[in-house]
Amino acid sequence: MEVATLLPLAVTLIMSPLLLGVINRTKAMVGGRKGPPLLQPYYDLIKLLGKGAVYSRTTTWVFRAGPIVSLAGCVLAATLVPLGGCESLIKFHGDLILLAYLLGLGRLCTVLAALDTGSPFEGMGASREAMFSALAESAFLLGLAALARNTGATSLTQMHAALADGAWSVSGLTLALVTVALLVVFLAENSRIPVDDPNTHLELTMIHEVMVLDHGGPDFAFILYGASIKLWVLGALIINLVLAPSAGESVADLGVALAGMLILAVLVGLIESTMARLRMPRVPQLLVGATALSGLALVLEFGGIGK
């Protein structure tokens, strides 16, 4: 095992909360505010880890298992994703399916934990999350399928390596379609505007946040940390696609990819600063639109037109 394969995982685990810091700082600057420190998400995690947890008497082990399983799912997912020329820690044929379902597993556990509380708010959030993520998942899987067809690889690492060889000049159309679809999935899955508003305190409008209202202390830290890893993992897929490594020098490529991640965070901050949230009935339309783009990319690939 090369040491380099540990790099993407290490970087993910260490740097993922920073993305949230960058997003928040961007939003603050555009809004004419100073904003919280860049490292605030880390401070929050440390603070939460030092707290005790409160459990409602109506909850069972499902509620306590939720945050742990979803964090474990996210960390495992991070082991599958390469970054900027560095191979991932774990790679095998078809690992992209595992990635989708590891993220799905985490979501399932969060949803179950939410339902376990018996609160009407959490039930509402769980139903929204289940509905929207089912739609987002199809866009995600179809997009990955199009990439797999394009590169002839079913492992994320191989796919990444195949993309390195000037794939954009050969099959730019497919890649562009998939990139847009993945960007929508990225925003939806990470409960960002225009799908969800991570800053709102209004329970009735929340999607993801409302499901975790009853978690506190270390459990909530796990959830926040898991969410930031998920943000990083899905972001890394986009960055791998857009900034295919070219230097052949893995350290330089990693640097480019990291810069790309920060730029992606700034982009998210800008999106959130310049548009309002969609009305909730419109969210499925956006996600179905993303699915259509992924599907189109796949069709193009099968027809051999994308190249």
Binding site: L204, T205, S273, R277
Partner: protein
């Protein structure tokens, strides 16, 4: 009903009348007069009971006809019950629930007779729900409207909310994300204000007025002072009237600007949210420049105002306002130019003009449906007798309309203040108020930023307050919010709620 009209006494706004001059008629004619007047375009501005002795409660109705700027009074004596107005006149519904709760007088046939503030009757031994004296009454512990059926679910929100806001309980009957019905239950902030005012005025009275609803200090204090001045037959100096007008409009500017920002925040549109949050502070600071309090406290006093402004202060106020108004202009335009925001505002939380009229809504919540009621225009007092601010209306009745009316009012109030600052009349700012006329009644109306504020003062034989009635605009409008949620997405509730932005404590008193 030609006879009905003769039974009314039509009085000029904010003029004291002798109690004996208020027509007292039988309950049947009382109902007929009110129904007839409401059918003819009147609103019920106040409907309340005043106990006469152990058996009798006298009901007073204050009817306002905006189109002709007339205000009419009528009264009748009832015992333990009377035939309810509500089935024939929906806008009486909340008033009749209040009368039942306060005096144990049952409006027979009221379709939804429940307490509104959850306290014991003020007439011991008379309780509309036969609750024992001394029993515990918990707020919101009562029956709620329920929709039954498969996949229908109930969502209960509050009284403790996620944000730092006032307590209120909301019950949604939902089918998936769709709201069939919303019922709002308040009363958590009930302080017994009206009862505490009886026997006054005293040192505390003005402070009570300024805290009826903290964001409407100037509005309520002005309504109170108008009533006192009229009962004391005191002429307020012109300069004081101008200062009161400026303070009232500054209050409107601050709240409307804050609301635009909060509306933007509710749809996740950050730029306008942050800018308006700061600009609201600028308007509050402008108020502080006049009287030292950001919320306009200790400014409006019976007989005039407590603080005068000197020349440099006027200039400073004027220049600060100009720059704040410029910035609001930019922040608001960002909002209107952003299509993603408009997609959220338009067609959300719609109420029709029919519903608004039937329920007697006031302020921007009524004007958003094209109704042009505005006390500053219809029943002008103080400086508004000389300077007209045109009522701002829109026709769509949705969140956009309520937001856009706020924007129009910001511009018009801004212009009004700047005009007034340019040409302040000279002279004193406060006159002496003598003793209050005994056995009299005075109705005082003010257009607060939420809408019509109505104070009714009844004095006793020594000129003391025998009864004091406060009707905050929120009292009329909460039901409007409930209606606007019909057939809407439950996720749009916070947005609709913010577009009304009603007062809990102003309602609960």
């Amino acid at each position: 009903m030609t006879t009905a009209h003769t039974q009314l006494s039509r009085i000029p706004h904010a003029d004291a009348v002798r109690l004996d001059d208020v027509p007292r008629i039988e309950i049947d004619s009382f109902r007929a007069v009110i129904l007839d007047e409401v059918a003819g375009g009147c609103r019920i501005s106040a409907l309340f009971g005043v106990p006469q002795n152990l058996q009798t409660v006298r009901l007073y109705a204050v009817l306002t006809h905006a189109a002709t700027s007339t205000l009419a009074l009528v009264s009748c004596d009832v015992q333990d019950s009377y035939p309810a107005l509500t089935p024939d006149c929906p806008q009486a519904h909340w008033f009749e629930r209040e009368i039942a709760e306060q005096w144990g007088v049952v409006p027979r046939g009221h379709p939804w007779l429940k307490p509104i503030r959850f306290h014991h009757s003020y007439r011991p031994g008379h309780d509309a729900w036969s609750r024992a004296v001394g029993s515990t009454i918990l707020p919101s512990v009562t029956d709620f409207f329920r929709v039954e059926g498969q996949e229908v679910h109930e969502v209960a929100v509050g009284p403790v909310h996620a944000g730092v806001i006032e307590p209120g309980h909301f019950r949604f009957q939902c089918h998936g994300e769709r709201v069939f019905h919303l019922e709002i239950s308040l009363g958590f902030q009930h302080r017994g204000v009206e009862r505490s005012l009886v026997g006054g005025p005293n040192k505390r009275t003005i402070h009570t007025m300024e805290t009826l609803s903290g964001d409407t200090s100037v509005g309520h204090a002005t309504a109170y002072c108008q009533a006192i001045e009229s009962l004391a037959n005191c002429q307020t100096p012109l300069r004081a009237q101008v200062l009161r007008g400026i303070a009232l409009e500054l209050e409107r500017l601050a709240n409307h600007t804050g609301d635009l920002g909060a509306l933007a925040g509710d749809v996740g549109f950050l730029p306008t949210m942050s800018y308006c949050g700061r600009l609201r502070g600028d308007f509050l600071n402008a108020t502080a420049l006049v009287c030292g309090s950001r919320f306009g406290r200790s400014l409006v006093r019976p007989g005039g105002v407590a603080w005068d402004v000197d020349k440099p202060r006027i200039e400073q106020l004027s220049s600060r306002l100009r720059s704040a108004l410029d910035s609001v202009d930019g922040a608001a335009k960002l909002l209107w130019d952003s299509r993603s925001v408009q997609a959220r505002f338009e067609d959300t939380g719609r109420i029709s003009q029919e519903v608004s009229t039937a329920l007697g809504l006031v302020g921007p919540s009524a004007r958003c449906t094209g109704i042009d009621n505005d006390v500053r225009h219809d029943f002008p007092s103080g400086i508004f007798r000389f300077t007209l601010i045109p009522p701002s209306t829109w026709h769509t009745g949705d969140v956009f309309a309520r937001a856009y009316i706020r924007w129009m009012e910001i511009q018009r109030s801004g212009r009004f203040i700047l005009e007034q600052l340019d040409a302040m009349p000279a002279g004193a700012v406060r006159a002496e108020t003598g003793p209050l006329a005994p056995n009299s009644l005075c109705v005082s109306l003010v257009e607060g930023w939420r809408g019509e504020i109505c104070h009714v003062v009844i004095t006793g034989s020594a000129g003391e307050f025998a009864h004091y009635k406060v009707v905050d605009p929120s009292f009329h409008n909460w039901i409007g919010l409930a209606m606007s949620l019909r057939d809407q997405q439950i996720s749009d509730f916070p947005l609709c709620n913010k577009s009304f932005n009603l007062s809990y404590c102003g309602h609960d008193l």
